[in-house]
Assembly symmetry: C2
Homo-oligomer: 300 residues x 2
């Protein structure tokens, strides 16, 4: 099944304790699409400015990603983000954000995209996420991401969104902020009671937790000795997960758990180099090999 | 197989965001012994002062723990610790430490204890841990715990200890401190190369990692919605793990992995109330029931 994603496309600058890189291909919809492309065909909706390098579009197309929903806005600049990682590579500081074209992003989906059954609303304003939802009325699985900014400044709109999506993906700090509960098990279920059928709490290097009415579980991250750049790990996780669900055309509990594992493993590759540099070197078979190791690691 | 543990017995005072308790039964050897007692017979070596309540000794004996190595030192006071937990219940601050009798602790093992095959050196000075090792020359599995203090002030002695034990258990912050490496996968293997055949890095609410020459794996914590008091979680983990290994009289890779899981689950009960209050309510069958859930959680 094709998978539709609406989110940001960006040029990132990243500082780690060991290296600094500028104008890297980034953005939630980019990391998501690339990760999902190992599993299914992806349709991307976003906007960039005149400064957008055409070769980046070609790179996405080379993985079978349909970029016909990527609008190039003349007279505008692409969204830019600059961040700095702490030595633990888990905590980061945002140094600069220039929303540029993304500040006015009001996606109008191509007609051919409106019949997708699988929809991911990457991190963005819940107002925009709601407008996208309205354009895909027949979706059978809708999952959204969010962030601290929207929890703080658009909580009401976020609450409306939670009534309308099937799943929400957010990180541990965001789950605590949204529920005012430090215990992640309680926090996860509190978010679930706000509306979505399932909630996934991402814990960075510690893996991810899943919450539905009848299930609570946690899956560890794949132990990675080389973390070069964690930017996009959360979006790669969501891309691997949603890509697998769309491929299977199914989201029963067992498939969801497998999908979580695929998300974790896809993200484990993403962090091994800057931008998509590591992802560009792998194939589905690499993910499957790591899956075999992961299954062995968790069986006893 | 009987399991020998040498470590502290203490009276703890604990502050959490919701409650404060004084003079609780605590100490590394107490939490360890109690947890291990679900699996095997335990022999405890420690020292307390005249203020030690006799009913605490009886409570340990009621679980089959041999307390003939618990020395009551006249004119001395029991080790006391006071700590305060942050709202996340994972980070804590030590408010007071009164070593008292434990400051002069120089264990002389009863003759009948010196033939134990399974030995755990709970957190303590590596100088003392080395002296204990000398008294149990025939042990087939020796595992030690340590802490930041010894890494900082007795590093040379700790290095000697690491050459002589089979396994080391330490937490994530301690592994980072000992190796000056923020990446836990690298840090775990660096500690292993300091001597022990295997290293276990405890990650609190995020579970534990295992490192041997041929294996690297991580197991998540059991998702617990009610964390009342995490004091002793690490020692309960070690007790469950070592207790299971002693019961099985085996420490091959598969048994070690099962033991890690038993450690995680035993600790998951310990944190559900102050001191040993939750542990006193459970039986082996409760641990086995949680093990069944844990296995299901990790299988997909």
């Amino acid at each position: 099944m094709p998978l539709l994603v609406v989110g940001s496309v960006a040029l990132d600058s990243v500082e780690t304790p060991w290296a600094t890189r500028h104008d890297l291909l980034g953005g939630s919809a980019v990391f998501f699409s690339y990760a999902a492309s190992y599993f299914t065909s992806v349709r991307l909706v976003s906007a960039v400015g005149e400064d957008w390098p055409a070769e980046y579009t070609q790179m996405l197309q080379a993985r079978g990603i349909d970029t016909s929903g990527l609008q190039i806005v003349s007279g505008a600049a692409t969204f830019r983000w600059k961040g700095k990682y702490q030595p633990n590579m888990n905590d980061r500081e945002t140094l600069e954000v220039h929303l540029n074209v993304f500040g006015e992003f009001d996606p109008v989906l191509p007609e051919s995209f409106r019949h997708c059954k699988f929809l991911f609303l990457a991190n963005g304003s819940p107002v925009v996420q709601l407008r996208v939802l309205d354009q895909v009325p027949g979706a059978t699985l809708t999952v959204a991401d969010t962030m601290d900014l929207w929890i703080e400044v658009q909580r009401d709109e976020l609450m409306q969104l939670l009534q309308r999506v099937d799943g929400l993906v957010l990180n541990d700090a965001e789950a605590r902020l949204l529920t005012d509960d430090e215990n992640l098990v309680r926090a996860g279920h509190k978010v679930r009671r706000m509306g979505p059928k399932f909630v996934i709490v991402k814990k960075g290097e510690h893996g991810a937790m899943f919450f539905s009415e009848h299930e609570t579980y946690v899956m560890p991250a794949y132990p990675t000795a080389e973390v070069v750049d964690p930017t996009g790990a959360g979006d790669s996780f969501a891309g691997g997960m949603m890509g697998y669900l769309a491929e299977q055309d199914n989201f029963d509990p067992q498939t969801l758990k497998e999908a979580l594992a695929y998300g974790i493993l896809t993200a484990s590759y993403n962090v091994e180099d800057f931008s998509l540099d590591r992802m560009k070197q792998i194939e589905r078979a690499d993910i499957e090999r790591r899956m075999k190791e992961y299954r062995r690691m968790l069986s006893f």
